[in-house]
Subunit: 482 residues, 2 copies
């Protein structure tokens, strides 16, 4: 098989049911599991291990810096083989896959194969998945659009199903039909029938076959996608990214690739497999990733269970104690906590809606806020003062800025800072400090190769984030907020 | 009634079942309820409203500064009418009451009446309680040792009971007998009988009658108490306190006043009442102090309930969300969290034991630690650095000290500090900062009348609390740790 394989990683999952860890500003693909790797990172690692020639991450423009940070430490990135397609808005999977196909056709030719992966799924049996991918590639090489089916082992009502028809070579089947999420009775029938599998939302196909299918069953979408691709530009803030053209992309119909293409196209195959796949859609699936104690309790972080069974605790450093509970889920974050029975895990959306309705912004932001240059965490806030921990990535820099109302004390607790304070530019070593008076232009940079951590104490009449005037910014934010 | 009334406040309740809010270093009497007043403060306010001539707080030496802080802002304290008896160790109520009686007899004469109150109870109907106290005083004036009974309205198995005998004047009854905590069946019998009330642990009597009773039924205890009283000294660190003599006090039998005196003495009366009394012994009783929503959920702090009924949330500022729970209790503190069903509230001790067994110290300390001069809170800690918020009370001062390994940056965020930094002594206003190099003698003082709040960033090879050399300390801690 000589055709190149490009892994297309669709990184758009909001993960509302995984609140309060997954939030709008740092959604599900960035969630870190047991070994510290995010779901996105795991997906890229998986793609790399399948001898993918390169990867294309399709994500919202807002997640570009975050995604690049997550993936910076991978061989594929270091080899310059990870590129980004940046969406101005979410338009479901069909537009994303159409654009990705056009991009791959242009860079790798129409014979190139695309392996479409979701950035927020988990696969524990990587070898098993690799075998399925090999089958799928063989079918794709013969012109099939291939879906990956997950061998159903429970009458799951949360997934769509694929009915397998006639057997094809390479262990695949022609797809008989796609079925929407069934009720329990039908799900049981499917399980009994044996020729149904769950629709995993992962695909493999040649660029030319997807373009042909689009031309046949979704010509408007293809035309719109071509128009958008023609006007898309290299992203100003990153040479490895293409920014999809806003108006034309946003004009595309928001529709899944299943509806738009796979349910209508002719040569559609399914490769059923069992490779420890999970869409980790809700907390119980996350819990499954951690070992259970003798009473079936699981913990990510510090937890003490007393007379409790089947519980799950996600802790962020605090001590979580659970007494006399059965099948309870406790998710602890620095600024918000969720307690529920496991069986209500699908309803976390209701909590998120309640948080939104309460006027809070904890459905959007975490206590730690990611910025292109690193992160900041508000540790404490009071009248006329705010205390932040700031971490600046190596060789990164905050904008040259000025505040009207607040003074800032900076104390370096690790690494070295280069500080612009009015006319002066100087280095600040660990344990050194400086004072930025309000009205003074200043800039904070990390000139080193280790992370720079500093404590900032703000004081003044007003310490809101919007008291900022930017004069120069590496990340194109001069005219924008924060 | 011309005899003076001294309110004796026994402030010793550990409140283990109220973990993680109540901890060894800041136990139940210091817990703050809805209006921000601690249980101890409420008890003093109650005593003051009963036209108490003065109050005597009996507490452990370790809680002296904390107690004084809690009570500093009361008229009784300002009038110099609150004094402290400091115990070197806990010896239950009989020794405490014996010593308090000796103290009152000395300061106010043997005709003075003592009203013994627990610092960790709650009384919502203060007027009703006042009426009972008036009845009790009338009986005490006639030589009775009076207990306060709580009219039983449920077959409670968590309290001892008092059986009323013949009716006395002033609405009281001679005590027929004291009964230990009954099982449910007996508790139901008591409730049906109608002449049983709960033993509240509050008492009223003349000093001379208690001394006489002690002489008759507990002569060893009285002799030991007299010996201890004779050797007790004014407390070096506070003119309003007497430090009970360690060896002689510790030698006293640890026994309750019920066992030692009331069950054996002759003229013992009970005044039964219903005045919204609660010993707030466990979380459900705390919950009762907060209004319920339409679904019976109650909250102290920020909480969002979704599809939940009968739950209670205690939050310390974080957003606590509860989904689909029934009768759950969630107690949130900055460093520890407890989740349990209401019905397990009596078993929080098991959690505390598990915390202790885990090697953690969260059963003893809070994130915010009280010191004679104020408080400190560790906001964040990392390798070779520690971030603290320090609050110094007006006119208070930390010791003159020195650290071998850590440097300290101080930034004043409110109030004014007087700083000794080596040879220099200078004022630091809000928003000013200074740097204390390791090896330099330094002192932090609040010379003003407003609280001083500062952020301290420690950095150095070692930032443990035990890297401290004290040269001079207002609170007698030169030779001791921290």
């Amino acid at each position: 098989m000589n055709a190149p394989l490009v892994s297309v990683i669709l990184s758009g999952g909001a993960g509302t049911r995984l609140w309060p860890v997954s939030r709008e500003a740092l959604p599900k693909p960035f969630m870190k599991l047991g070994d510290g790797r995010s779901l996105l990172r795991r997906t890229l690692d998986r793609a790399a291990s399948l001898s993918g020639d390169s990867a294309l991450v399709v994500t919202n423009r807002d997640y570009y810096f975050l995604s690049r940070d997550e993936l910076s430490d991978t061989a594929l990135t270091k080899a310059g083989k990870v590129r980004y397609l940046l969406e101005p808005a979410a338009r479901n999977t069909a537009p994303a896959i159409a654009l990705a196909t056009l991009a791959v056709a242009q860079t790798h030719g129409e014979d190139a194969q695309l392996l479409v992966l979701a950035a927020d799924h988990l696969i524990t049996d990587e070898a098993g998945f690799g075998a399925c991918v090999a089958q799928a590639r063989a079918l794709a090489a013969e012109g099939w659009l291939v879906t990956f089916g997950i061998a159903a082992n429970t009458p799951e009502t949360g997934f769509g199903y694929i009915e397998s028809g006639k057997a094809l070579p390479h262990g695949g089947y022609a797809v008989q039909r796609f079925v929407e999420k069934p009720n329990l009775e039908r799900a049981r029938e499917f399980l009994a029938a044996g020729n149904y599998s769950w629709n995993s939302g992962m695909f493999c196909f040649r660029a030319r076959d997807m373009l042909a299918a689009l031309a046949e069953v979704a010509p408007d979408l293809l035309a719109g996608a071509r128009a958008s691709w023609a006007q898309s530009q290299p992203y100003a803030a990153g040479a490895d990214a293409t920014e999809l053209h806003g108006p034309t992309f946003t004009a595309l119909e928001s529709i899944s690739v299943d509806y738009a293409v796979f349910e209508k196209a002719k040569r559609v195959a399914v490769v059923p497999g069992a490779f420890g796949w999970s869409d980790v859609g809700a907390w119980p699936e996350i819990a499954e990733q951690f070992p259970a104690d003798a009473d079936g309790n699981r913990a990510a972080g510090r937890a003490l269970f007393t007379d409790s069974t089947g519980c799950f605790v996600h802790s962020h450093g605090r001590l979580v104690t659970v007494l006399g509970m059965k099948d309870a889920v406790v998710v602890d974050t620095p600024d918000a906590l969720l307690v529920m029975p496991k069986e209500r895990a699908q309803d976390v959306k209701k909590v998120v809606a309640a948080v939104r309705a309460s006027g809070d912004d904890k459905h959007i932001f975490h206590a730690t806020v990611a910025r292109p240059w690193g992160t900041y965490t508000v540790l404490q806030e009071g009248p006329q003062f705010k205390l932040k921990r700031i971490e600046v990535k190596p060789l990164c820099s905050l904008s040259l800025q000025m505040h009207h109302y607040r003074n800032e004390h900076w104390i370096v607790v690790s690494g070295t800072a280069r500080v612009t304070n009015g006319e002066q530019v100087f280095l600040l070593a660990t344990n050194e400090s400086t004072y930025i008076k309000s009205g003074t232009q200043h800039r904070l940079e990390n000139p080193g190769t280790l992370p720079l951590v500093l404590i900032e104490v703000q004081s003044g009449q007003y310490v809101g984030e919007d008291d900022i005037v930017r004069f120069d910014d590496k990340y194109g934010r001069v005219a924008k907020a924060v």
